[in-house]
Structures are given as C-alpha cells and as structure tokens.
C-alpha cells in the first residue's frame, strides 16, 4: 500500500471523509460547504482568507492547510501557534483540512525535524489531529463531538 492509500485507510478508520483531487478542483470542493460562519486559512492553496469573530457559540466550519500528514496513523499536523486558527479548529463544528500529497509522510518520525524546528522558537503550539472530537467515557460507547468538531474532512491535493 502506498503512503497516500495508507493515510486514507487510517483516516477513514476514525470516520473522516477523505477526498483526493487535482488542484484545479479545490475551489469547487471547498466551496461545497454551505457553512454560514466560516474560518479559512489556506494560503498555499490560494483560498481567500476568512476570519470571523469566534465566541463560545463556535463557528460552522474551519478550512485550514496542514503542514504535514502522517500515513501510519491517519493524522494531520497543524502548526497552531496562531491563536485565531487554534480557536477556529477547536470550536468549529466541521474541520476541513487541505494537504498536498507530497506532504503526506510515512511515519511519526518523519515530522520530528519539523516539530524540532518549530519548537526551537520562543513558543510553539503544534497539533496532531486524527478525526473528530470523541469520547467513550460512558459505557465505552463511542460518541463524536464532545468538545470540538463533530466532522472532519481531509482533502489531499494531487501535486502538479
């Protein structure tokens, strides 16, 4: 199984929707969301940034770009030192993450250099995210959306 297939398999395991598309279809794919309150930060993919106010009511959707993805666990890696981005990804009902196929790495160890480099600075906040917020604290029954997002989509963009 290649890297991307492996990533998708593990990402599906936690209930994520995964889409693999060419760059030309990004606008259309992301535009599908009809969310009213939407945070967007995905410069690399040429998306227009959107920064709504965020309070305890949360927002409908956060669309962000991942720094990396990890195939062995189906994880996306997001530098979240930006407070607004952190709030948006914590408090959105739906989290949509874009990542280029070339940024999908095989193993956890493959992002160590990135973690090390970003943590050399005076501060750092990097999130590994693998699926929607969940709990199994009552009778071990899996329940989605206990504090954070209830849905997650990963859009893998084919490299040029």
């Amino acid at each position: 199984m290649d890297r991307i297939d492996r990533f998708v398999a593990y990402s599906e395991l936690v209930g994520n929707v995964n889409t693999i598309i060419p760059a030309a279809e990004i606008e259309e794919e992301v535009g599908k969301g009809t969310a009213q309150k939407r945070y967007v930060k995905a410069h690399r993919f040429g998306l227009e940034p959107l920064q709504p106010d965020i309070d305890e009511k949360g927002i409908n959707e956060a669309v962000v770009e991942a720094d990396y993805a990890i195939a062995e666990t189906g994880t996306v890696v997001l530098d979240s030192a930006d407070e607004k981005l952190r709030l948006a990804t914590c408090l959105a009902e739906k989290l949509t993450v874009l990542v280029e196929g070339s940024r999908v790495k095989e193993k956890l160890e493959d992002v160590v250099d990135f973690l090390e480099e970003r943590s050399r600075k005076e501060n750092g906040y990097i999130a590994f995210i693998t699926g929607a917020s969940r709990t199994a604290d009552i009778e071990r029954v899996l329940t989605i959306g206990v504090h954070g997002p209830r849905e997650m989509q990963v859009i893998i963009v084919e490299d040029m």
Binding site: Y10, C90, L108, T135, I138, R140
Partner: protein, 709 residues
C-alpha cells in the same frame, strides 16, 4: 475505611460492574491486538523501556535542559517537593489572577496530590473537562481506571447524576448526555481564569510538552484561559521528539486500542492569548517530585517510573476485572497502581492491596514500557514482609515446614491419615465441609506413598538411554499428584530417556517469596538445591509444575547468592529447566494419538509467561482436528496458590469465566500443564457436573503409543 474483605465483597456483588468489566476486558484485547497488528510489540516496548532508562542524574540534566529552553522566554518552572508544595504553588497562581474558575483536563498527577481538594479549600472552583472526570467530580466519586475514569458507571447512573446536578430531567441517551455537557462546559472555558493540564511527555531538547486526548478538552484548556499551568512528574521527560514519537506510537494502542488518540498537542512556552494583558499566555510548569527523584536511585523500583500511564495493566488483569479499580488500586489503578500506591501513598495504603495480585504476569507481558510489574509487586511484598513481618501462621509454615523437607514429609503423612473420613470414593479428592464461598475448590487428597516413595529405584530407561534428565517433582506432585510424576517417568522410560529424581523432594520456595518471607525462601531454596544433583550430568531439568519452574529459573540464583558454589549450580540448573512439551518437541520422541475425544488446552500463567512456552501448538499438531483451541487459554484460572484461600470470591469468579470458555469448546478433555491449575479447574468441572476430564499433559501422553521410526 471498610475492611478490604468487605470492599471486595461489595464489588463482587455488583452485577453491573461485573458485566461492564468483563465486556471491556474481552473487547479491549481485540482492539489492542488489531492496533498493534503488523508491528513488533516486543521491539517497540524494548525501545520505550530503554529510552526511559534514566538515572537520577540523567533526569536532572533533562530537567535543566527543559527549564532553560522555556525559562529564557518567560515561562516559570517550579520544582515541587511534594503534593502540598505543588498545590500551594498552583493555588497561589490562581489567586494572583483572582480566578474564580479554573478548567482542567485529565491529570492523574493531580489526582495523586488531590489538587482539586486543595483548590476548593482555597476558594477556587476547578472544573474537570474530561467527560469521565466531570461525571466523577459532579458525583463526588473518584476514578476507577486511569484512562476511562468512569468505567464503573452505567448510562443510567450517569443520567441520574446529571439529572440531579443540572436540576432537570436528562434523557439516558449517551449522545444527548454528551451534548448537554458539551454545551454546559463550553462556557467555562471562556469564564476560566486558569487552565490546568498534565503532560504525557516533556521534550527536553526544546522545552515542549505533549498532551494526548480524544475529546479536545486539553486544547481548549490550553487555548482560552490567559494562564496555563502544567503539572507533571519528572518521569515524563524524554530527550527529544524522536523519543516522544516512540512513546506516542505505543501509548494509545495500549491504552484504548486506538492507532493514535484524536489530539496530540505539542505546546511550548507563552503562546498568543487575547485574554492576557500583554497578549501572551502566562505559563507555569510545575515539576512534581513526591519521592520520584529518590526512587530513580533505587535499583528495582526505578523501573516503575518508566510507566507511560496507559492503564493496560488494569485492562488485562483478571483480578481487576473482578473488582474494579476502586479496590484494585488506591488513586493509581491496576498493577502499576499497586506499586505507585506503595511509592506515593504510603505503606498503610499499599500493604493489603499488594496481595490482590495473582502473580499471573499478564501485566508484565502487556506493558508497553516493558516494566516487569509483577516482579516489582513481588519485591514490594518481600520488602513489606521484611519490615512488618509475615502473618504468624504463614511464617511458621514457610520456615518450620517448607524449609525442612523431612518435617514437611512427616506432617503430610499425618495429613494422609487425618483426611480419611473426607476422601471421595475414587480416592482422588477431598470433600471437606467448607463454607459456601470456598466450595468452588475440591482439593486433592494427600497421597501416601508419595511420588518419591513410588518412584524410588525407578530411573525410566536404564540401558541404552538416549538422554538423561532430572525431574524435579515439587510439593504438588510429591504429595497430591504422584500419578503425574509416575506418568512422566513411564513415558520417558518408554522413549529411552533416563530420569533421575531427588532423594528427598523439597519445596521451590515460591509460597514463601510470594508471601513476602525472604529469609524462609532462602532456607528452602538452599535445602532444595542440595537435592538436585549435578547439572553437568543432565541434558535437562524437567518440571510438571511451571510455578516451580519459574522459581528455579527466576529466583534460585538470587536466593543462593550467599553461597557461591550453590549460586553457580542454580544458574546452570536454571538454564536447563524445561517443561515436558518443550523437552519433547526438541527430542525425537513421537506419539500416536488415536481415538475421537476432543481435547482443549489451558496455558498456565507460569508456563506461558513464566517459562515462555505453551503446549498448545504441540497438542494441535499431535491431535489435528481433535484439538479445539480454548478462548483466553493463557488467562489465569484463578488458583494462584494460597490466593484462592485468601481471596476465594475473586478466585472463584475468575474460575467461572475459565469454565465458561471450556464449555464453549465442547471438549471431552482439558489438558494443562500445572497441578495447581488442575486442582482449580477440576473443582470447577466437578461442581458444574460437567462430563469433562481434566488432566496433566504427562498423564495424557502416558496413555499414548510411542511411534518408532
């Protein structure tokens, strides 16, 4: 507090708890195994064990590295000597910020020092945000599992708790209840003046902590309030991210059977915070000692600090499965809980509960940090035995009877006469007038002549022997099951193997070491070793009781250290000690198995995880389709020597599950490799009137024809 016996009984009577933990144990194993599929678990845990192999000096170095990395950018690092010190520091920070509420994500370290009580007493209201912890906080309860703190509560019970707490009718639908809590706690993240979290790892090379959660509550606790306090023990320090990834690879898989937890958050220092005056979050890292640094200098106990808090030692513990974490543990739970209780919460809290360990080694076998938990529990028992003494009756048995084989033999002779009125028709068992709770066991009668009486003069094959072995019978074969030993002599004799036996059969010392009596164990082992011939004369030392085998392999050398010659002998014998099936597999002896009876096999704990072998494969190859695998074959049968007398309720409960699995196989025969397991399982079979024969592998094989090439 109530007596341990009563607390156990209360849990044994709790049918809901029983079913919950039973279902959990079986589903956990499935998901854990599937999470580790394709990975080399042994290699992974060796890595974790070795990266956590840190001396006190190493930890001091890592701590200073961590500290420098964050302090230079304005984070405050505090070294708390103990719980009170940490609590006071944290309370001071909360008060300085006039925080009315603080939000907390799950931290066992905060449970260890009872942080919530200290905060409340200081006028600050902590709000637990992990759902399980929140349920417990609202109901003034405490965790019964390190990862799933409210596992002892059912949805109905949670519904009652919430209905009372929120003062309105809450529907017992899990999704709905989760929704209510989501809505309710959201406000608190915004209201809170301080967020408190623990840490799963602390990366020294950069000064970064890693927090693993599924709910996302730690992210909110570390994002919204203007102040973040991290409470962590020194043992969370790792050198770099490379090492952190090794911990992360095993932690969620062992904890919940997930490939990875939903959120892993790497935080360093003062991140932007719109609620803070200078726009940057105020951060405090509180490193808790509470004895840790000194334990790092202890040759054995330092192992315990390698724990990554996955909770899996509870998940696979048969005794935990019977009584849950409120009894099997104190604040920390499971096998590591018994150990941490001794380390952090004192002798008084630990002494009694250490005895709840069956010594089945399942925890050691499953620990993703490669900690031999059962060994540590054994060491602590010996320590407490040495310090506070062993119960007088047990002490007398260990030192005056087991250490003196001739006295033991004499007493067993008396026993063989006294028991006469209770012997069953087939002469095999005793029907003792036992109280109801002990009636699950049907003990074997004391046999006279004993094994060595019967076997004296026999040496198996005499002429043209292909190999020569020494058979160590142990007390069970010598006095209760001579037939098993005779069977072994007979079948090996037919196979052309010469078998020597000790002139006088001595005890292996295991009852004394498990009972915490080091002195008697030493005496016993010295005596027994003297009767074990010269290791150079033998190809193998065979045992039919794997517990004796474990004693020989793991303990003889340690307990013979005072006598160099004996120590060398113990070492050589240990290297040659084998179970019957291991010996046969490596030999040229082949059997022919006729008939049509279905056979299943129970793997004794001390065979599977002690001598690290099982006859399952051997029998399966020998019997083909007649062999039916037993579900959970390597899970303890509940016997564990005097455990079954000390904790009859737990022992019979575990046996009940074993019998259930045996019934499911539809087998006519249960073969196993341990006299203790036979006694326990036979009792279960007889009491359930099952038409199933329980026998030792040696007895089973003795009835088969040997095939000659």
């Amino acid at each position: 507090m109530k007596k341990l016996r009563d607390r156990i009984q209360e849990k044994l009577n709790d049918k809901i708890l029983h079913d919950t933990l039973k279902n959990f144990a079986s589903s956990y194993k499935v998901s854990r195994d599937s999470a580790f599929k394709g990975l080399d678990f042994e290699a992974l845990r060796r890595q974790v064990n070795s990266l956590k192999e840190l001396s006190r000096m190493d930890v001091e170095d890592l701590f200073h590295q961590f500290k420098e990395n964050v302090e230079e950018h304005g984070t405050q690092v505090y070294r708390a000597q103990d719980g009170t010190d940490a609590n006071n520091y944290i309370l001071d920070v909360c008060k300085k910020h006039s925080a009315e509420y603080i939000v907390k994500s799950k931290s066992m370290t905060s449970e260890e020092i009872k942080l919530n009580d200290a905060l409340e007493a200081g006028g600050v209201q902590p709000v637990e945000t992990d759902l399980g912890e929140y349920i417990l906080q609202v109901s003034k309860d405490h965790p019964s599992h390190m990862v799933m703190p409210a596992i002892h509560q059912t949805r109905g019970q949670v519904c009652d708790i919430f209905t009372e707490h929120f003062g309105k009718e809450i529907c017992p639908d899990i999704e709905e209840m989760v929704g209510v809590v989501r809505h309710y706690l959201r406000d608190y993240y915004f209201k809170a003046g301080v967020g408190i979290t623990g840490a799963n790892v602390a990366v020294a090379s950069t000064g970064t902590i890693g927090i693993v959660t599924n709910e996302g509550n730690a992210r909110l606790c570390t994002t919204l309030p203007p102040v973040h306090i991290v409470l962590l023990g020194y043992e969370k320090l790792v050198r770099n991210f490379e090492e952190a990834m090794k911990v992360l690879r095993v932690l969620p898989k062992s904890a919940t059977g997930q490939i990875i937890s939903t959120y892993v958050t790497w935080i360093k220092g003062r991140n932007p915070s719109f609620k803070s005056e200078d726009g940057l979050k105020e951060t405090h890292y509180v490193f808790l000692d509470n004895g840790r640094l000194e334990y790092l200098e202890h040759p054995t106990l330092k192992e315990a600090l390698k724990c990554i808090r996955c909770g899996s030692c509870a998940n696979i513990c048969p005794a935990y499965e019977m009584i849950g974490g409120h009894v099997f543990g104190h604040i920390y739970i499971g096998a590591i809980g018994l150990i941490f209780t001794a380390l952090f919460h004192g002798e008084q809290a630990a002494r009694e509960i250490l005895n709840l360990c069956l010594s089945c080694k399942a925890c050691s076998h499953n620990c993703p940090a490669g900690i031999d938990l059962q060994h540590l529990i054994g060491e602590l028992k010996l320590f407490f035995g040495g310090k506070f003494g062993v119960s007088p009756l047990k002490k007398a048995v260990y030192s005056s009877v087991l250490a003196k084989p001739t006295v033991f033999r004499g007493l067993m002779g008396v026993g063989s006469v006294i028991q006469t009125p209770f012997i069953t028709k087939n002469r095999k068992h005793l029907r003792l007038p036992l109280p109801e709770k002990r009636a699950f066991q049907i003990p074997p009668s004391v046999k006279r002549p004993t094994f060595t009486d019967l076997a004296r003069g026999q040496t198996g094959a005499t002429s043209a022997a292909t190999s020569r072995v020494f058979f160590y019978p142990g007390c069970a074969v010598e006095y209760f099951y001579p037939n098993m030993g005779i069977a072994l002599m007979d079948l090996l004799g037919r196979a052309g193997v010469r078998v020597d036996i000790p002139r006088i059969s001595g005890c292996c010392g295991l009852p004394a070491t498990f009972g915490g009596d080091r002195k008697s164990a030493e005496k016993i082992i010295h005596t027994t070793l003297n009767y074990m011939g010269h290791p150079d004369d033998y190809d193998a030392y065979l045992v039919l009781c794997p517990s004796c085998g474990v004693a020989i392999v793991e303990q003889f050398e340690n307990f013979a250290k005072k006598d160099h010659v004996l120590e060398e002998k113990a070492k050589k014998i240990a290297a040659k000690t084998k179970s019957l099936s291991t010996f046969l597999e490596a030999s040229a002896v082949k059997f022919r198995a006729g008939g049509n009876k279905k056979v299943t096999y129970h793997t004794p704990c001390h065979l599977g995880r002690g001598l690290k072998t099982t006859a399952e494969q051997y029998l399966s190859q020998l019997l083909g389709e007649r062999f039916v695998p037993l579900k959970d074959t390597d899970v303890c049968c509940g016997f564990a020597g005097s455990y079954s007398v000390d904790f009859p309720g737990i022992s019979s409960g575990i046996l009940g599950k074993k019998i259930e699995h045996i019934k499911e196989t539809g087998a006519d025969m249960v073969v196993t490799d341990c006299p203790g397991c036979i006694m326990q399982i036979d009792g279960g079979v007889l009491n359930n009137d099952l038409p199933i024969k329980v026998l030792h592998l040696s007895d089973f094989l003795a009835n088969l024809e040997i095939v000659r090439d």
